[in-house]
């Protein structure tokens, strides 16, 4: 019969109940292993923040048909991209009726609600959900990670594998020397507001029916010359409006993040979209956008790292939650295999890396591995190009008796005033290369 002390011994302990951690806990619990999911929030999700888009494929892997019962806001049928200058806007978008049908493609969510539901699923699968508990440190023995130290009385907990899903500034990964200090070029700081708005108004304004939703990604003027993008997402009875900018740029320009958001909200084009709304919540979050090259070590003796803590964000496609969930699930799979073999060594856990290599997670991150550095060198993409393109479009669409031939000349002048044609071609070529 097992010893009473064994009550505090688990097959796996997951630190952090975000998409990565909960996904991992769910996978491991479903296999019948004993797993604890430890989180600092008053309930899972209480402290979790993201822009607000969730991808069907990643959740579906854990819970088929989840959209029938999960607390989702809207399923996205339209995605728009806006290029803003100071007073005008070029937009392109895509809307598909296919996305209005089950199984849908993407959803907006409010994380406090969704994460709490998702953790409930892990709970039902058998995971021990331990909230309101801060993990202060990891316990190591002879270089192996064997447990965690929490802030609770008699707060040590032991497991064969510890999975660090403690978010972007994973102090635990840092304590273990799995990652170094942050480079502030690898971090974006995003601020967002939830703006209450009656459903009917949202549906009219965005041309939606029922629970259909739309997202708008915004480039150009809103980032005030910095490397960053804004967004507007539709929720059921609110909009998520926010902007994320590379931290190094904020440090350099000394622009305050909330001023940036305030100015974005006051942009004439955006003001129209949010008018009649009431700010309800304000939140800020750091996003690890360093990409493949900035990834920390993700496995060691008795330890795995997943989600934001492992830099698993595709900054270009604004994907994060799906990479997090997939990495969490694959970490779970690794633990199940390791438990079967009874081997939790670094060598055995390297299987996690192989599984990630085979999935879209590392394939995508590798494909864009040069992009973060490239974009850093070409912050003009966020300022000069949107501006000249808007000027060119203004000129093209203003009917003022100027001959078309003269118009073309003027447009060419606008386009090449700030950038030589040769430079534009060079930028385009280099960008193409950076996208892999």
């Amino acid at each position: 019969m097992p010893d009473i002390k064994d009550m505090n011994k688990f097959d796996a302990i997951i630190v952090g109940a975000g998409p990565a951690g909960t996904s991992c806990a769910h996978t491991v619990a479903k296999a019948g292993l004993k797993v604890a999911l430890v989180d600092r929030g008053t309930f899972p999700g209480a402290k979790n923040v993201m822009g607000g888009v969730l991808y069907r494929h990643a959740v579906e892997n854990a819970i088929p048909d989840f959209w029938k019962e999960a607390p989702l806001e809207r399923h996205i049928i339209e995605q728009q991209y806006w290029l803003l200058s100071d007073d005008s806007n070029i937009s392109i978008g895509h809307r598909s009726e296919k996305f209005a049908q089950e199984p849908y493609n993407r959803f907006t969510v409010l994380r406090a609600k969704f994460d709490s539901w998702f953790a409930g699923q892990a709970d039902s699968a058998g995971a021990y959900i331990i909230s309101k508990t801060v993990v202060d440190d990891v316990i190591t023995e002879n270089g192996r990670v064997v447990g965690i130290k929490t802030d609770r009385p008699d707060g040590n907990l032991y497991a064969n594998v510890i999975v660090l899903c403690d978010g972007v500034n994973s102090l635990l990964a840092q304590k273990l020397g799995m990652r170094g200090e942050f480079d502030n070029r690898h971090l974006a700081l995003a601020v967002k507001e939830i703006i209450s708005m009656p459903r009917e108004k949202i549906e009219d304004r965005f041309n939606l029916d029922g629970d259909e939703g739309a997202t708008i990604d915004i480039y150009g003027e809103v980032a005030q010359g910095m490397e960053g993008t804004g967004f507007i997402y539709t929720n059921k009875d609110s909009l998520s409006v926010g902007i994320g900018v590379i931290l190094a740029d904020l440090v350099k320009t000394r622009v305050r993040p909330y001023d940036l958001l305030e100015q974005m909200k006051n942009h004439p084009v955006i003001k129209r979209m949010i008018s009649g709304g009431e700010p309800r919540e304000y939140m800020a979050h750091m996003i690890p956008e360093g990409g493949y090259k900035a990834m920390p070590k993700i496995y060691g003796d008795g330890v795995l790292v997943a989600g934001d803590a492992a830099m698993m964000v595709n900054g270009f496609h604004r994907e994060g939650s799906n990479l997090a969930m997939t990495s969490g699930r694959l970490a779970g799979k690794t633990i199940i295999e390791a438990t079967e073999k009874g081997d939790y060594s670094k060598n055995a856990l390297s299987r996690y890396k192989d599984l990630l290599e085979d999935s879209f997670v590392l394939k995508d991150l590798k494909k864009y591995k040069n992009l973060p550095a490239h974009i850093s060198n070409y912050s003009e993409f966020f300022s000069t190009y949107p501006e000249i393109l808007n000027k060119a479009a203004d000129e093209f669409l203003t009917i003022d008796g100027v001959s078309k031939k003269e118009k073309q000349r003027k447009i060419r002048k606008i386009l090449t005033e700030k950038k030589s044609l040769w430079n534009i071609i060079k930028d385009t070529y280099k960008s193409w290369r950076a996208f892999g």
């Binding site: 097992p2 009473i4 609600k113 021990y128 331990i130 508990t133 008699d154 707060g155």
Partner: protein, 288 residues
Amino acid sequence: MIECNIDILKKDIANKRLDMHIVVCIKQVPDTTQARIDPKTNTLIREGMPTIVNPYDLHALEEGVRIKEEYGGKVTVLTMGPPQAKDAIREGISHGCDEGILLTDRAFAGSDTLATSYVLSEAIKRVDLDEKVDLVICGKQSIDGDTAQVGPGIAQRLDLSQLTYVIKVRSIDLKKNSMIVERQLEDGRQIVEARMPALMTVVKEINETRYSSLSNLIKAAKYEPAVWNQEVLGLDTTKIGLKGSPTTVRKIFAPPPREAGEIINNEGESSKEVAEKLLKLLIEKEVI
């Protein structure tokens, strides 16, 4: 496996001499710090509002566990509510209670304080049959109803010594079956000796709640309370739910917003002048 370990724990407890059996009654309430009132209907918007254990009841739990630790024995936590109130029981377990019972049935829904105290007292009778109850502890009132009637209602129905607004338990004499407590009154404290079994309702100042240990949290995470429904309890259906509740709520309204206070400036005036001005105002408003 974990079930096995809980069995061992139970056996451990059973082997000990159970000196006192304490029942703590708790209620799951909406987290009113996050409450919003619908401006049109003047009712509480309950949708999506997180629930918590009534804050006074946390102190009741704490006191129960402290008494157990001092005098030995066992704490049973009891709640009536929807199936989700299992979370409240689990919180009780994480605070150190030994067992939990959830009273849940559609037939109990809509119960006012009269009906609620009936259901709870019948359940306590049942607990008492299994294992004699010495002390029942409740919070002084709930933060959603604020009536402070359920505790006294249970005491009355079970003929327990009724100790309300207890701020301190001075001593318990198990041989004499008596306890001495301090009650908080508006103008002071009253020291009362009472026979046991007794029921006390506690104020927040009675103790500081502890930060639960990790092992209790783990125990609580998968704890499945005994669930007692109408079928198990077999209560008088005219005394429960809406039928058994003579109280009806006529109207709920948000209190008018507080008006801004008056600020007396001392610009260009001596302290004496300001003091006189203040005195005049206080007399005018009949404050003094």
